[in-house]
């Protein structure tokens, strides 16, 4: 994207009424070409984008990658978020990001079990609120390591602003990439109880069938469900993503590893969806969907190609997946995944309208050179689609973070949330931006989070942006807590909200 000088001063409002700036309608497979879309899809929308690093941490240059977000449905002003951010106090707890004003301002609160000597952070973290109980749940890979193994903790807190450490609900060795979703049952036998689902890759599972969901029907005690039914290449992939509907339907998509070429590192995987129709209490749990081979789990795609050790620019890749269910109709679900197409890492999107039994034969979306797909559906049935695309070549490469939405899966409105340098700052660790970004809906609103280069240059944020940390939009510079010393750009988490 060519840079342009803005007349704006130091007032890069993160809240904008969009249509003129960056909102584009697109047709399937033509994500970058403007096509006249239906009025409903292009109607004006409020967009709020906030750099989440608070003012008191204006000097920080951490690689705050791999973010997730949780909005409290009982009080949407309360929002929690996570990233690979160390405790600024250097203590034995890692921080979460907390907002009490709907995402406009943020504080860091260190309440996640960690270890000072290990950097006061986690090796993986996701967060989710239940629907009505005000309880925040987290799934983490806890540091320090134990006997050379990753260590799963599932956590909860009823007070995400307090200083009390989150309660450890599950502590298990040998588990990777926990991904938590939660809801409070509004009817049936589980009415009023928190239903928590944590997808993970559990290396302790027998026979290499490692795709796993830890589930709880009371927010306290968990049981382990193995959702892989087929032979694997020794294990499944790390991505296991639950998606919950308020009627008790719970889907999950996972990256089912099938073959491995040791000479090239190339692998194949099936993109598999499982379903349970009663909060995971089905018999067997998550066994409601069967494929043509008679086994549990519908294979949306078979023999998807990828390389677990590959990169998209500085960002490692390895087969991201995401899933969302329509809150207005639990029969409607969407799946997104990434694979390698002719050597190019590519994101795909498909839809099912019959509870996952069949899926659209063709992709609703195909986005080349993209990663970190994240999906959500709002209460109007509008699908939201977040991804980060690498564009350009060499030193001019940029990561462009898109949020697109559509009410029919065919005609899309595209908002560019950020268009930032892809090669600066230098990478501190993997993942550079994260193995995932996050999107969710509440009512008609979409809330999301992504990580990106934090240079305060308004041309990087065509829909506006708000910074809490000290900055100078005119000079496109970050400033230290003294308001004068220039701070180098780094990777920060950005919160966004799109109100349709």
């Amino acid at each position: 994207m060519p840079k342009r000088k803005l007349a704006a001063g130091n007032t890069g409002s993160g809240k904008s009424r969009v249509a003129a700036r960056g909102a584009r309608s697109t047709s399937p497979r033509r994500a970058t070409t403007g096509v006249r879309a239906r009025k409903k899809a292009t109607g004006a929308q409020n967009v709020l984008i906030v750099n989440m690093i608070p003012k008191s941490l204006s000097s920080e240059t951490n690689q705050d990658s791999e973010p997730t977000l949780a909005v409290n449905p009982a009080n949407p002003l309360q929002i929690a978020a996570s990233a690979f951010t160390p405790d600024p106090g250097g203590g034995s707890l890692a921080p979460i990001y907390v907002s009490t004003d709907g995402g406009n301002t943020w504080v860091l609160n260190s309440i996640v079990p960690s270890d000072s000597a290990s950097g006061s952070m986690t090796a993986d973290i996701t967060v989710a609120f239940s629907s009505t109980s005000n309880v925040l749940y987290a799934g983490i890979i806890r540091l320090p390591i134990v006997n050379n193994n990753t260590r799963l903790n599932i956590l909860s807190t009823k007070n995400f602003l307090g200083s009390t450490k989150m309660k450890v609900l599950v502590n298990r060795i040998g588990v990777d990439q926990p991904y938590v979703e939660a809801a409070t049952a509004s009817s049936g036998a589980e009415k009023g109880k928190d239903q928590v689902f944590v997808g993970s890759n559990d290396f302790g599972a027998p026979n290499g069938k490692t795709a796993t969901i830890d589930r709880s029907s009371n927010g306290t005690k968990f049981s382990t469900v193995r959702i892989e039914s087929r032979t694997t290449s020794g294990q499944d992939g790390p991505s296991v993503r639950p998606a919950i509907h308020s009627d008790g339907t719970v889907y999950a998509v996972y990256h089912a590893w099938r073959t491995f070429d040791s000479n090239t590192g190339n692998r194949t995987a099936d993109i598999v969806v499982v379903r349970d129709d009663n909060w995971g209490n089905g018999s067997p749990s998550f066994g409601a969907l069967q494929d043509t081979d008679g086994l549990s789990g519908k294979r949306v795609v078979q023999n998807s190609h990828f390389n677990f050790d590959d990169f998209l620019g500085l960002e490692r890749t390895g087969g991201a997946v995401s899933m969302a269910v329509d809150p207005t109709n639990s029969s409607v679900a969407y799946v997104s995944w990434a694979d390698t197409q002719n050597g190019v890492y590519t994101v795909h999107l498909r839809k099912s309208s019959d509870r996952g039994v069949t899926w659209s034969a063709n992709d609703l979306k195909v986005v080349a050179s993209a990663t970190n797909p994240a999906l959500a559906v709002n209460n109007q049935g509008v699908i939201g689609f977040l991804y980060q695309q690498l564009v350009g070549t060499g030193a001019a490469q940029r990561f462009v973070t898109h949020f697109q939405h559509s009410d029919d899966g065919q005609n899309w409105t595209d908002l560019v949330l950020a268009d930032t340098p892809a090669n600066t700052p230098a990478k501190t660790f993997d993942p550079y931006l994260g193995d995932y970004a996050h999107l969710l809906s509440l009512g008609s609103d979409f809330y999301g989070i992504f990580s990106a280069n934090n240079q305060p240059d308004l041309t990087h944020f065509p829909n506006g942006v708000t910074y809490q940390r000290n900055h100078d939009f005119n000079k496109a510079q970050l400033l230290d807590t003294d308001g004068a010393t220039v701070v180098d750009p780094s990777i920060d988490p950005f919160f966004f909200k799109v109100s349709l």
Binding site: S56, L108, N147, G234, F260, F429
Partner: protein, 279 residues
């Protein structure tokens, strides 16, 4: 004044030691601080030791969640032993212990001026004290551990899990010049280190042939045994590949390797931590 165990530091040691003056009780500089917390707005008069983010609060007003049972008065100057709590437009810290100013003056007289350096030195002192062995030397070679070598040679997909958090272990052989603590028993020690750049391992020092400095070594921590025990098995029998029969150590904290060109700045801290044990 009584203290309590901090919820933000299970060791009970405060990261933020500062002298401050109470400005207002029951108030906060941050809207996000819960109203029912026993807080005070405090002016940070002097910082003794602190992580960099808290060292920057010198001269500013911050919020202190007071240590349980303490009742300082407005205008009173207090030495706070605290840990970070909330970082937002301002900062809130949680006091785990409060002392009278007279104690503060005594302690201040003995402290160098850089509070972040003071904290780093204190933590390095503790790390040395807890190390199994402290040696000075040079990396003579770097190897794949036996398990990794076998897998590479066979080019097979073993039972070893494939994860983005794979440490990708390597072994560095160190020619030991000086032993500051412990007894390696030989002129060489083997340090197993993760070469992975994953978030879980990026802070761990990576070693290359020719690296010189001081290593703070731990035995039986993190790294698996070479050859036999599958990863994840508890109670590793630590055996080296690079030097058959030798014990394997790890140095996983950034503090565990002090390169030669920075030794001058930390030599006194290391000596101070080692000498009491060697005396």
């Amino acid at each position: 004044m009584p203290g309590k165990t901090s919820t933000n530091d299970v060791s009970g040691e405060a990261k933020f030691l500062f002298k401050g003056t109470i400005q207002k009780l029951g108030a906060s500089t941050l809207a996000q601080v819960p109203k029912n917390e026993p807080t005070a707005i405090v002016h940070v008069d002097e910082v003794l030791h602190a992580p960099p983010a808290l060292a920057k609060t010198l001269g500013k007003l911050i919020t202190v969640k007071l240590a349980k049972g303490t009742k300082p008065k407005v205008g009173e100057q207090v030495l706070f032993h605290a840990n970070g709590w909330l970082f937002g437009g301002s900062v809130a810290v949680e006091s785990v212990k409060q002392e009278k100013p007279a104690v503060a003056k005594t302690m201040l007289a003995a402290q160098p001026s850089d509070p972040a350096r003071n904290l780093a030195d204190r933590e390095l002192h503790n790390r040395v004290a807890n190390a199994d062995m402290v040696v000075e030397g040079e990396v003579s070679s770097v190897h794949l551990p036996q398990t990794e070598s076998l897998l590479a040679a066979k080019a097979v997909n073993s039972a070893k899990p494939v994860s983005e958090h794979d440490p990708k272990w390597r072994e560095a052989v160190i020619n030991v010049g000086v032993v500051h603590k412990g007894d390696p028993g030989t002129k060489q020690v083997v340090v197993r280190f993760p070469s992975s750049t994953d978030v879980q391992w990026h802070r761990a020092p990576k070693f290359h042939t020719g690296d010189r400095g001081v290593w703070l070594l731990q035995s039986g921590q993190g790294a698996p045994a070479a050859g036999a025990a599958p990863e994840g098995a508890a109670g590793h029998a630590m055996a080296a590949t690079a030097i058959p029969g030798a014990a394997v150590y790890t140095a996983l904290s950034p503090m565990d390797f002090q390169p030669a060109n920075k030794l001058a700045a930390v030599a006194s801290v290391i000596r101070g931590a080692v000498e009491p044990e060697n005396a």
